[in-house]
Every structure is written in structure tokens, then in C-alpha cells.
Symmetry: C3
Subunit: 341 residues, 3 copies
């Protein structure tokens, strides 16, 4: 990789440079991990102490930290330093990483009638079933499986070992991490005299543009209608999305969260890690769910909702948890006292 | 696919037809998603309004909804409309889907001494290890791995990317979804002066007939005895079954639930999503566990058991959660007041 | 496998033999599952009844159980019977299992510049990317993917279908179970006017010696610095380790637990199943977290911490949970009464 100077960076990404334009940057680093060859960033006032202590050759900071940062070396000032650094990491990676070559690896297995854009890349030991459509510059990594008639939009990347089942569709610039399973059958059975009779899942999964789906996350196909994930949604690892769920645009879900069947989550929501959304609920746009919260009713008013049990040392928890099982009767006793007093 | 008429459907599946037998059905759909070419279903009274509003060409309903459904078009009446529709989806899929051809894909890797029924299908890039036994009409999908001496019953299907480890056995008509891992080593260690010494897991997994196991679900092999999943059990996605667990027949477990080692769950139980069953417990037949419940003691009486923290707006939760950490002392204070009064 | 006698076992592993040295052992078994051909073990006094009832041909017991065990047959006495049996299972497996041959399977795909030790084994349909380094006696199983420049230490085994991403490193004698994903991108985004801008994850994962990682467990790569798992740590299945987490040496984590980004867990900790550690926390060495606990603050004092909601029959839970939402006001009412009395 050619050397990068601060001038290269501000030329590509903007920002106000204070310091030597010709300073070379060998890597991006955290404030604590940076040396003289590194560029680091600080997002705000609470990192002032770390800014003063870092060994970084240069810093990206918001205007409020310019004084502290400039006192110690080169600085790029950006109104939103976090956003600037995010874009910088993308620019950096685009320069640094070897591009994955277009074409089909000799070991891949390609079905009949596959529409494969000539700029797309199919990795080693991938399987593309009959009639699938793979868009321009899409990348299907090693051990991925794209089912029959599935459609993969331009620039979408399946890193490795992704299952993208038959008839499912994903838009452009998507990213699917290893182990993700898109379009497995939803969990649907009719009871029959003590046994379960399978309801075949006839819907598919529809995913918009700019969606990211984490490692080992599952998005089930719909029972009759489709499961939908709108544009710009970001799903972390180990997430379970049940059949016929609808995730609104630009909603972000942290790891190990789960949404049961037919729930409808609005746009611009933030769902914390290991949170559960029960089935058939509706959650309004701009709702935030704290991690480990069980959402058991619909939410119609935006805001933050929580519900984790407060942890404690084991002895205290045991006493409080035991008492919690008598809580209703405690309330009754309190009422009785109130009446007497 | 040949066109399907209502006559074809009642001829195959029974039910009482009210309306034109020659009406053609192009797809099965939800009440809301159906058009004139579609057949939809309603399970009971609470869907009366949806029945009146649907655009479906025909409906499957229970007797109680016949009046509403017949007022608007063709109807099939079935005593249990959900069960009827479940069977209809299976019949539909059997007609519609291209059957997977028998035989071994050229890219699959087959070990020595494998007993492969001539009607079985081994998909692209599957690996079948030495001595495995694959039954009639079994389907081993792309990227699946069947370990040495494993036994797969007739009609059982591993969709894709399933790991089915050495010496494990599954009965007939099973279904394993992508990413499932059957027979990985259980988590067993002996402490040794601050380090952990591995206990090799010498048991296997034994799975009965008609069992379904969801995407990315793990069923660990036993330490010495086997982990057992009896006939007809249905496991959703992202489930963890620890070593030496025993799941009774026809028990259904929803996504993200977990059962720790050596627990024994009865028959006909229903375990809600993200519920946890701790190790070495016994749960009696016909028990229902609400989602997100932590079962920390054995259950000897059938019924429904629950234990999720009720969620609230964040400010209310914070106040209540903080108070919860003082609950035992509140009880003591209440007692003191009661003595005084 | 050659027959094993009790003499062979004590010769290899020590222990004090009471009984016929020439007794042949055909298998290791649980107390309940053992027959006359089996060796079983009991760890302590609470298994006395099972010791008296077992059909095992021989037993491994601690000194306290010698009397009971000797009254019924052959015995090996070991100060720590659990540890003895753990070592015995390893010795047993080493004798019993067919060793996996060194060399590269013809169907594997090997990149350029891979440094492959001649004693290493690369299984069918594995993919090893450019510049990866695979140590002596390492085993890369079927469908595994080792990314570019990744380093795998001597004796480390990836069972099957493991993703070990580019530039990640693991030490010696590690074990990675099927479906594990090491080095997927961490979940990092900068908000930009209602959308999310990806922060490329430039760190890697560094794993020490003697580490085990369970089936379908994910360990994300760091954002700028590395995610670290120190020597001897043991991770069960379905675990989520966020970017830049640090897990101390010999810490054990049970299934479905999760650690959010940048948390730091000490050495010799035990994290229960389905426990959650929130981001950026520090947990001191020798901390035990009970299963299903949400750790929302740092822990500076070793000990056991808990926080699961106590489950109950559904009707009781409903009353107590409803009351819990009024807990703070109950406290206020109690205070008011106390002031009056």
C-alpha cells in the first residue's frame, strides 16, 4: 500500500487540518494503542485526558478538543469526529485491501440458468442454485449457498458460509457475515391430537438496500407473506428474526436479540442486546429497547423502554428474589395497614 | 405446475365445499395478502372482520365462520381450519416443488464403507464420512457434513450446511435446517488447580422420528450416555441443548431457548422463546414455559410457568429496579409496622 | 482397539488399585449406564447410593467412597476422582479414535504462500487463504475456512465448518467446534442523520493456548485494537463475544452467554449460561456470574453475582409482576406509613 499523508486524507474526506500536511500515517489506531505512525480519534470532551496521553502521530477531533489535541501534535478537526473516522476507515480499507477478483472460482458449483453479472465474484466451494440472479460487483464468498431463484443486488457481499435460501431477495450494498442463515423455514405447526403438523413456509425474505446481517444470525422466511427487512437496517450477530417479521428502515439491533413471528418494528429503532420482542406486536418508529428487555406488549409512544432484573451479590439477590415471589401479598398487607392507620 | 381447483383440494384433503368446484387457485395466501387467485384461511371467530375484508378467491374456515365466509365467496369448511391448512401447505409443496434427484453430486466427498440407499440424495459439496448410513429418500443438502458411522433414517432431510457428527443417529422423516450442529462435544471440564481439564464426550445424540431442528441450533453429544430427543419433538432456531439432555416426545421449543446439561423435559411440553432450563432438572409432561422464563427448579405439576421481568418506560423501570434491590428490607419494615399496629 | 485392563489404566494415570489388575474394561460409562464391562466414576459422598446400585465392573472414586465401592467390586482410588476421570477420557480417546492423517485432502482449496506444517491435516473442502500459517499437527476439518494470513498454532483443531477470519491468531492445543465464527466484523456504526455509517473493523482476534470455543459461538474482531482471549479460557456454544472484549486466562463461559464490546473479564471467572455482560465493563478475577444474570456495572470484588427473575406458576407470576411495576410507589407508601406510626 502506498504511504498515506494527512494531505491525502483531508483531500479525500475533508476536515480542517492543523499540522504538517506531509505527515505519513501507517495505520489507524485507538488512542491507547496509537504510536507516532498512527492516526487516532476522539469523539468528545470525555476523552480529553486520553487525548493528552496518547502517543498518536495525529488525531481526528471535534472542534471542542482542538486546543487539547493541537497542544500535542497534528490534528484534523471534523464537526462529527466519529462519523469522520467511520468514513476514514472505509476509505482506508478501500485502499488497503486486495480487491476480490471477479469471476467464478473453479471449485464453485453453479446451477442452470444462473444470471451472473460479469463483475460479480463467486468464491471457492460456493453453491449457486438454478435460476439465481447475482448483481454487479456482488461477492459470494467461500462455502456460501445461494438458493434457487434468489436475487442478490449489486455490490452486496456474503462473506463466507452464508445461506441465502431459494426465492429470497436482497438489495444493493448489503453485507452478510459468516454463518448467517436467510430464508430458513419459519417455525409453524398446527396441533393435531398431541402431535404437530408442519405448516410449510411459502413466503420468502425480502431485504432492502444497505442492510447488514451479523454472524450466525437467522432471518426466517414468511409463512405466506414475506419477512421484510427495510433499507439501512443493521443486525448484529446471533439474532433470531421469526417468520413474517417486519423490521423498519435504519433500525439497528444488537447481538442475541430476537423478534418472534409477525412482530412489526418501526424505523429508526434501536434494539439492545439480548432483548426479546414477542410475536404479533407493533413497535413505533424511534423506539429504543434497553438490552435484555422482554417486550411483551406493543409500543405506540417513542422512547426508551427497559426491563432487566438488577443484578446483585448472590446473597442479596436470593433474599430479594425470594421476597419478590410474595410481592403481591406484601402489597395486600400494606393496603391493610393503610386502612387501619 | 398444473392448475389446482377447489375440487382437487377437497378431493385430496376432505372438507366441505361451498362454492364452485372448478374455481382455480394459483396460490395460498394470508387473509390480508390474498387476491382473487388465492386461497386463504381463518382459524376462528377473532378473524371474522378479516374474513369479511379479504380479497381471497376462496377460504378455509371452521364451521363457526361459514356464514361470514360464504357471504363473500367460495368456502371449504373444516372442523380444524388451522390443521386443514397445514396439510394443504404440505400437499401444495409436494405438487409444486421440483423433487431433488436421487444420487450423489459429483462434488460431494464420500468416505469408505458408506451405506447409501439408492434413492437418497447427496448434494453438492457434502461430506459423508466413513461408515455412515443414509436411508431411503434421505436428502443431504449442500455443504452438509455427516460424521463417521452416523445413521440417517429414511426420508430425513438436512437442508444445507448441517453438521451431524460421528456416531449420532436420527430416525425417519426428520428435518434439519441450515447451520444446525448435532453432536458437537458437550461442555465438560474438571478443575485442576486453576485450570480446566477437558472431559472427552464419549456419548452420542439419539434423535427419534419426525423431529425438526431449526437453523443454527446445537444439540450436544452426551458425556458418557446419549443426549436424546424423542419422536415428534420440534426445535426452533438458535436453541442450545446441552449434553445428556432428554427431550420428550412431541415437545416444542421456540427460538433461542436453552437447556443445560442433564435436564429432562417431559412429553408434550411447550417451551417459550429464550426460556432457559437449568441443568439436572426434571420437567413433567404437559408443562408450558412462558418465553424468557428461567426454570431453576424441577417442575412436577403440569401447568404454565412464567418469570420474565415486566418491561416499562425506562424511568419507571429505573425506579422500580432500584427499589427491587431493597425488597427484602422493605418486607422487614412492613413486618415491623405490622407488629406495631 | 486393544483390550484395556485396570493395570493399563493405573499404569498410565496412577491411582490406587483395589481389585484384579487384569480386569478388562470395554468402555467408560455413567454409574447408571454401566455394565460389567464398564468403568464408571463417582466424585463424592452424594453419589454413595448410586455407587451401591451401579452394575459397573469397576469404579474410580475418591478415598471417602472406597468402602462403598470396594464392597461391590474393583476400585481405583484417586484423590480427585473427577479430574482422574477427565484424564482417563483423554487417554481413552487417544487410544480409541483413528488418528486423522496428515496432509491436504484433494478437495481442499489452498491459497498462495500458505505455510503448512507437513504434520498438519487439511480436511475435505476446507479453504485456506493466501499467506495463512498452519502449525504442526494442527487439524483443519471439513468445510473450515482459514482466512488470509491467519495463524493456527501447533496441535490446534478446528472440527468442521469453522470460520477463522483473516489475520486472526490462535495458539497451541486449541479446539474450535463446528459453526464457530472467529474474526467476523464487530458491530460498529456512526450515526449520520438517521442512517448508519459503517466503521470498518481493523483489529483482529488474538487467542492464546489451550482455548476451546463452542459450536456456533462468535468472537468478533476488534475495531482498532484486538479482541483477546487468554490461555486456557473455555467458551461453550452460542456465545457472543463483541469487538475488543478481553477474556482473562482460564475463565469459563457457559452456553448462550454474551459479552458486549470492550468489556474486560478477569482470569478464573465463571460466567453462567445466558448471562450478559454489558459493554465497557470490567470484571475482576475470580468472579462468578450466575446463569441468566445481566451484569450492568463493573465488578471489583470477587464473589458470586446473580440476577434472574424467580419463576413461578403463571398466575402467581402475573400478580407479582404487575405489582413489581408499582414497587417504587409501594416503597413510598410504606415510608408514609412509617412516618405516621
Amino acid at each position: 500500500m502506498a504511504p498515506v499523508t494527512l494531505a491525502d486524507i483531508v483531500s479525500a474526506l475533508g476536515g480542517e487540518l492543523h499540522g504538517p500536511a506531509e505527515l505519513r500515517i501507517a495505520r489507524l489506531a485507538s488512542l491507547a494503542g496509537a504510536g507516532a505512525d498512527a492516526l487516532a480519534f476522539a469523539t468528545g470532551e470525555r476523552y480529553r485526558k486520553d487525548v493528552l496521553a496518547t502517543q498518536a502521530g495525529a488525531l481526528v477531533v471535534p472542534p471542542a478538543l482542538l486546543d487539547a489535541a493541537a497542544a500535542r501534535g497534528a490534528v484534523i478537526v471534523a464537526a462529527d469526529a466519529h462519523l469522520y473516522f467511520a468514513r476514514l476507515t472505509q476509505w482506508w480499507v478501500a485502499r488497503q485491501r486486495t480487491p476480490i477478483p471477479a469471476g467464478v472460482h473453479a471449485s464453485a458449483v453453479i446451477g442452470r440458468g444462473v444470471q451472473l453479472h460479469p463483475t460479480a465474484s463467486i468464491g471457492p466451494l460456493a453453491v449457486i442454485d438454478d435460476g439465481a440472479v447475482i448483481g454487479a460487483h456482488a461477492i459470494i464468498g467461500p462455502h456460501c449457498h445461494v438458493g434457487a431463484r434468489a436475487q442478490v443486488g449489486a455490490g452486496t457481499r456474503m462473506q463466507s458460509r452464508v445461506t441465502f435460501a431459494e426465492d429470497c431477495r436482497i438489495g444493493e450494498r448489503g453485507l452478510l457475515l459468516p454463518g448467517a442463515v436467510i430464508g430458513a423455514d419459519g417455525f409453524g405447526f398446527a396441533p393435531d391430537n398431541g402431535t404437530w403438523v408442519r405448516v410449510e413456509q411459502l413466503g420468502t425474505v425480502w431485504i432492502g438496500d444497505d442492510v447488514e446481517i451479523g454472524a450466525n444470525t437467522c432471518v426466517d422466511r414468511g409463512a405466506l407473506d414475506d419477512t421484510v427487512i427495510e433499507d439501512g437496517a443493521k443486525l448484529d450477530n446471533h439474532i433470531q428474526i421469526g417468520h413474517n417479521v417486519h423490521i423498519g428502515a435504519h433500525t439497528a439491533m444488537a447481538g442475541c436479540s430476537a423478534v418472534a413471528g409477525s412482530a412489526r418494528i418501526g424505523r429508526h429503532c434501536m434494539i439492545g442486546g439480548a432483548a426479546s420482542i414477542l410475536g404479533h406486536l407493533t413497535i413505533v418508529d424511534y423506539t429504543q429497547i434497553t438490552s435484555n428487555t422482554v417486550v411483551s406488549r406493543s409500543i405506540s409512544k417513542p422512547g426508551q423502554y427497559s426491563g432487566a432484573f438488577p443484578f446483585d451479590d448472590n446473597a442479596s439477590w436470593e433474599k430479594n428474589a425470594a421476597t419478590l415471589r410474595q410481592l403481591y401479598s406484601l402489597r395486600e398487607r400494606l393496603r391493610a395497614l393503610e386502612k387501619k392507620s
